[in-house]
Amino acid sequence: MAQYTRRNAWNQGGGFDNPDLRWYAIGVFAMQQRKLADPSSWWFFAAIHGQSVQGVTVAPGGQPPDTFQWGNGFPTPPTVPTSPLPAQNVIDEYWDQCQHGSWYFPPWHRGYLLALEAQIRVAVVSHGGPADWALPYWDYISQPNVPPAFTIGVIPGGAGLPGVLPDGTLNPLFVAPRHGPDFNGAIYVPTEEVVQANANDPDYANFGPVNEDCLTEDHYTGDANLLPPGFGGGQTGFSFSGSDTGGLENNPHNLVHVYVGGLVLSQDQQTVLQEGYMSDPDFAALDPIFYLHHSNIDRLWAVWNTDPAHTNPSSPEWTKGPAYQGGRPFVMPMPGGKSWTYTPGDVASLSQLNYSYEQLAEVTAAPDRITARLERLGIVARAAEPVPAAPAAGAQVELVGANSGPLRIIGGGAQTSVRLDTQVRGKLMASFRTASQAALPDRVYLKLENVLGLINGFVLSVYINLPQGARPAAHPELRAGSVGLFGLRNASQVDNKHGGHGLNFVLDITKVVDKLYVDHGLDTESLQVMVVPHHPVPESAHITIGQISIYRGPGLEPQGSSEGR
C-alpha cells in the first residue's frame, strides 16, 4: 500500500469536517504568513508556476500595456505581497516554470504538487497533524460544485486550531478574485451532465462542457509537425506558456481554470475589469483551489496510465526533461532549505513515488472505441475478421482545407467557411466508401491556430455545420470540442518567453465527420465552422483565431507515436 493517498475533497461533505481540507487550510495559512522572498512561502510557490510581479508586459497589436499585475487592484483576500523580491539568481532558477502547451505539462505539475505537498506537510505535522497527509483532489466530473471549504469567508466555529488558525480567522482557502462560469462568484464546473440537465436554460446554451474525453486518447504525444498532440501534449523543449496543447491540458484542465476563475465585466459589458486568479497562469497558483484542480489532473494522468496500452514517452528528450535539450531544469524548493531537481522520468510512476489516489478508475479499452466507430458507420463487426492493422510510425496527416483568413471573435461568436480541397476530399470520401473492420476510414482533425487575444477568461466551443439559427446546446453531436483560453494573453506577446504564436488547439472531429458522412453531408465544397464563446466576448478582448484548418490522418493512430516521433 502506498505511503500517501490523495482522497476526494468532497469526503465528509467537502467542508472543514474533512480532515484533509482542514489541515490543508492550516498549511496554506502557515505558508501565507511567510514573505514573498521565502522559497517556502505561498507567494513564492505561486510565482514558481508563473508571476506578474515584475515589469509591465506589452500586449499584442499595439494595445495598451497589460495592467493585470499582482497586487494591482484585485479584491482581497488574499493580500498578495509584491516585495521583498528574492535575489535575481533565485528568481531565474525557480520562477516562471509552469509547462503548458507541452508534453512536459503532466510531469512538471506532478513534481510541483509533490513539492507544495511537502511544504504543507511540514506545517501539518508541526501542528500535530497526520504525517501521511496528502493533497485532496476535486473530481468535478462527479461533484461539479466547488467544495464548500473554499467558499466560506471565515473559519467556522470548532474547525480552527487554537493558536494557529483560530475559529473566525479569514479562511485561507477563500479568494475573492474567483468569479465562476457565470461571472457572479458561484463556483461550479459545467460538465456534460450539468449542461444537458440545463439544456433549456439560455444561461447554459453556449457552455462548452468539461469532460474526460482525453482519457480515450491513444497516444501520449505528437509534435508540432505531426498532428494530433495526444494526451500529454506536443513535443517541445522547456515550454513556459507553450502552444502544443494536449488533450488532458485542454479539457478538462484549461476549461476548469477558465470556468472557475471567470472574470469581471464593466456594467456595459464592453471592458474586462479583472480576471479571476484561476483564469491566468501568472495568478492561478495564488488560489488554493488550484492545487486541488491539479491533484485531479494528476489523478487523470494516473488513470490514463492504468490502461497498459497507454504508455508515457520513453525517449530521453522526455524522460530526462528539458535540461537534456539545453533548457531549464525543473527545480523546486523543498523543506529545510533544500532544492529538488527532477525530470519527467523521476515522476512518471505514481507507485514508485509511493503515492496513490482514492479512486483510479480504469479507461475503456481501445477495441471498444473501434467498435463504437464501426457501429456509427453501420459496419457490422465480425469476430472472424482481423483486428485493424495500425499504420507504421511516420504515417502522415494531410491538409484537407482551411478558411480564408483570421476570424475575430466578438459578441456571441463568429462563423467561417472552411473550404475543402476537391482532390483531398476525394481521398477522404474514398476512405469512407471502402471502409471495413480491417480498414477504418480516415480520422479527421480540426486545428485552431494562432489564437491571439488579451483576455484568458473565455471558453470557445466549435460547431460544424450548425443549422442556421439553431441553439448550439441542442446539437451536441455537431460540437467539435471546446477550448479554454487559459494563457492566451501571455501566448500572444511577441517579445516575451512565448514568442507571440498564440495558442493552438487540435480537436479530433472524427465523430462529427462520421455523422456528416452517414447523413450525406460530407461530400461538400466547404464546412461551416461556428465558434461560440461561453459568454459574449467584448471587442476589447481582441480575440482572433488566425486560421482554422482540417486535416485527415490514418484511421488508426500510427504505432509507436508515444515513443517520440
Binding site: 509537425n225 522547456f238 507504421a392 511516420g394 491538409l399 480564408s404 511577441v494 517579445d495 504564436h501
Partner: protein, 255 residues
C-alpha cells in the same frame, strides 16, 4: 525501419544542402586563407590598393551572386528549416514543393539584397585599406555590441514567429512568399553583424565564416525572450552538448 516523415525529409534535405555547400566552399578555398567563393575577397586578398570600380570590373555580377548564394546555402539553410516545415504542413500535399520553393526564394531574395550591401561594404573596405585587420576588428566590436543588444533579441523573437499560411490559390502563394520575406528580413536583422565581421578579414574568410556560423545556429535554439542587454552566444548549444555527454558518461558508468 519506419519511413522518414515528411518534416524529417525536408529537414534532412536542407541540412544536406548546407553540408554540400560547405564542402564546395572548403574545396574551393586555397589553403583556407583566401575565400575564393566570397567574391570580392578574390581581389581583396592581394595586398594592393585598387579602386572600388576596378574590383567590380574584376568580379562579374554573376560570380559575385553565385559566390554569395553558395555561402547563403551553407550558412542559412539550417535557419530556414522551421519556416519551410511550417509552410509544408499548412499546404495541400500537391503544393508542398511549390510552397517550399517560394519560401526559399523569398528568404534568399532578402539575403541577396542584403548581400549587395554587405559586399559593397567589403569592396569599399578593400579599396580603402586592403590588408590590415582593423576593419574586421571594428566590425567584430560592432557585432559584439549588436549580439548583446535588445534589438537583436527582437529580431530573434520574430525569427521564431510564423503566422498563418492560407491553403488555396494565389493567397497561399502570397502567404508563403510573405513567410519567406518576413523570415529573411528578421534573419538579416539578427545575423548581419556576424556576417559582416568575417567578410572584412583580409584572409581566413572561410574560417571566420564558420566561426560566425556557430553562434548563428546556437542562438536559434534559444526560446524567445524579453528584449534586454545580455550576452547571446553558445548557451543552449553548450548545455545540450554537456547534457548529452553526461548521459553517455553515465551510461558508461563514469559518473
Amino acid at each position: 525501419m519506419a519511413a522518414a516523415t515528411d518534416p524529417a525529409r525536408a529537414r534532412n534535405a536542407l541540412l544536406t544542402a548546407s553540408a554540400l555547400a560547405w564542402m564546395v566552399i572548403l574545396a574551393g578555398s586555397s589553403g583556407g586563407t583566401v575565400f575564393s567563393h566570397c567574391p570580392a575577397a578574390a581581389s581583396g586578398a592581394t595586398p594592393f590598393v585598387v579602386s572600388f570600380w576596378t574590383q567590380l570590373a574584376m568580379n562579374s555580377p554573376a560570380s559575385l551572386a553565385g559566390g554569395w548564394c553558395l555561402m547563403l546555402v551553407a550558412m542559412m539553410a539550417p535557419t530556414v528549416v522551421a519556416p519551410v516545415l511550417h509552410a509544408r504542413l499548412r499546404s495541400l500535399r500537391r503544393r508542398r514543393a511549390r510552397a517550399t520553393l517560394l519560401v526559399l526564394v523569398a528568404f534568399g531574395a532578402v539575403w541577396m539584397a542584403a548581400g549587395v550591401v554587405l559586399l559593397t561594404i567589403e569592396m569599399a573596405e578593400n579599396a580603402i585599406a586592403s590588408g590590415p585587420y582593423w576593419p574586421a576588428a571594428a566590425a567584430a566590436a560592432v557585432a559584439i555590441v549588436w549580439q548583446c543588444s535588445p534589438l537583436k533579441q527582437r529580431c530573434l523573437n520574430r525569427c521564431h514567429l510564423h503566422l498563418q499560411v492560407r491553403a488555396f490559390g494565389g493567397a497561399a502563394d502570397l502567404d508563403t512568399i510573405r513567410l519567406g520575406l518576413r523570415h529573411g528580413f528578421w534573419c538579416v536583422g539578427s545575423c548581419w553583424a556576424l556576417m559582416a565581421a568575417p567578410m572584412l578579414l583580409p584572409r581566413a574568410h572561410v574560417l571566420g565564416m564558420m566561426l560566425a556560423w556557430v553562434p548563428m545556429l546556437a542562438e536559434r535554439l534559444e526560446d524567445p525572450a524579453p528584449p534586454s542587454w545580455r550576452w547571446r552566444g553558445l548557451g543552449k548549444l553548450k548545455r545540450i552538448a554537456i547534457a548529452r555527454v553526461r548521459v553517455r558518461l553515465n551510461k558508461l558508468g563514469f559518473i
